[in-house]
């Protein structure tokens, strides 16, 4: 179910990348894909009725499958930050693209192509 959501979101993101002419939308679409992939990853680690992987006073001991898989979560933490890095760099590139080509719409940009 959650898998389904994330896959559809990936599809939407790809669709956005393919159809949109505004480069800002590309960043937005990429961000959607990132989020979707993150959801997907966390979903692979979900265990029904598992607890959040934190030892607390209320949950003292370890037994198999009592927690959800912490590793995908750790990976997602990394992936989120990587996504931010990519997006921020992309946004700043767009600022300069706009300055140089006077538009960020693929069809109206000047001096692009070849």
């Amino acid at each position: 179910m959650v898998y389904g959501i994330s896959i559809i979101l990936i599809g939407i993101g790809i669709y956005g990348l393919m159809t949109q002419k505004n480069l800002f939308k590309h960043i937005v679409s990429l961000s959607i894909i990132d989020t979707a992939v993150n959801i997907f990853i966390v979903a692979t680690g979900y265990v029904s009725n598992g607890k959040a992987p934190i030892y607390t006073r209320a949950l003292p001991g370890f037994s198999p499958n009592s927690f959800v898989d912490p590793l995908p979560q750790a990976l997602v933490l990394t992936a989120i930050v990587i996504g931010v890095g990519t997006l921020a760099l992309g946004a700043s590139l767009l600022v300069r693209v706009k300055e140089k080509h006077s538009s960020i719409n693929v069809e109206n940009m000047k001096g692009v192509g070849e």
């Binding site: 393919m18 992987p53 607390t56 001991g61 912490p70």
Partner: protein, 255 residues
């Protein structure tokens, strides 16, 4: 037409991923004992007989783990943190580097000189409340990364919260310019510190990023050896880094 093709192709991709999904275990029906994370959770990685483990003899950890006692190989209560900062600390170093690379890249791409103004006077409420909120926000950010090994959160969200404070300053004050020199120095020295932690581990324990400090008791603030230190480093670094990014996107080139 273009949209139609796009929809078709995207639908194809969705279909493909659904088909691939069939190769994964069902949602929620994961058996952790087949995965390495079982031992991250049990925190008994060092006691696993790797040879047997990889050949399919999954040694299900059955030891009782008690909150508040010694005996773990990694003492942070938050297992995700122990993975992020201890078991897979190297990934985190990479992650920090990604952010750093991105910040450097933004600096090089924008290469701004003068602050961009929003062209309007920030309203009174914003200005006053910023003054009140600012220390609180920063305190909160610090709290998040200092308790990273105990509670959810850690260096990255903590640092982000600090950066949010800087953003608030930019929004509330047309004239405000962050001191880039300080933020860069903090960023650089914190980054170096992380690597130096790693090198210290290499020197004392023979492996890069080795946890060279003594462990404490699960659940207490001063536990988990080097983990809180690393998370603080990360928190400060991310905070200064993202503040730098916030400052940089507010800069315009003159002329």
């Amino acid at each position: 037409m273009r949209r139609l093709y796009a929809i078709l192709v995207a639908a194809g991709l969705i279909y493909m991923l659904f088909v691939f999904l069939g190769t994964l275990p069902l949602y929620g029906k994961v058996d952790l004992s087949n995965r390495v994370s079982a031992h991250f959770l049990a925190k008994d990685v060092n006691s696993v007989d790797v040879k047997k483990w990889v050949e399919g003899d999954k040694q299900v950890p059955s030891r009782e783990k008690i909150y508040g006692r010694k005996g773990f190989e990694d003492e942070s209560a938050n297992v995700v943190t122990s993975i992020v900062v201890n078991y897979r600390s190297f990934d985190t170093l990479g992650e920090v580097t990604v952010l750093f690379a991105s910040a450097v890249g933004i600096g090089l791409v924008l290469g701004g000189m003068k602050r961009m103004g929003y062209g309007r006077k920030p309203n009174f409420i914003l200005r006053v409340s910023t003054g009140i909120l600012l220390p609180l926000i920063i305190m909160f950010g610090i709290y998040i990364f200092v308790h990273g090994h105990l509670t959810p959160g850690g260096g990255f969200p903590g640092g982000t919260v600090i950066a949010a404070a800087v953003l608030l300053l930019y929004l509330s004050n047309e004239e405000f310019v962050a001191n880039m020199k300080t933020s860069k120095s903090l960023e650089g020295s914190m980054g170096s510190l992380y690597v130096i932690f790693g090198l210290a581990g290499l020197a004392t324990g023979g492996a890069f990023l080795f946890n060279f400090l003594p462990n404490g008791v699960v659940g207490s603030l001063f536990s988990a050896g080097v983990v809180p230190l690393v998370y603080m480093t990360i928190g400060l670094k991310v905070g200064s880094e993202l503040s730098g990014v916030v400052a940089e996107i507010h800069e315009e080139r003159e002329g």
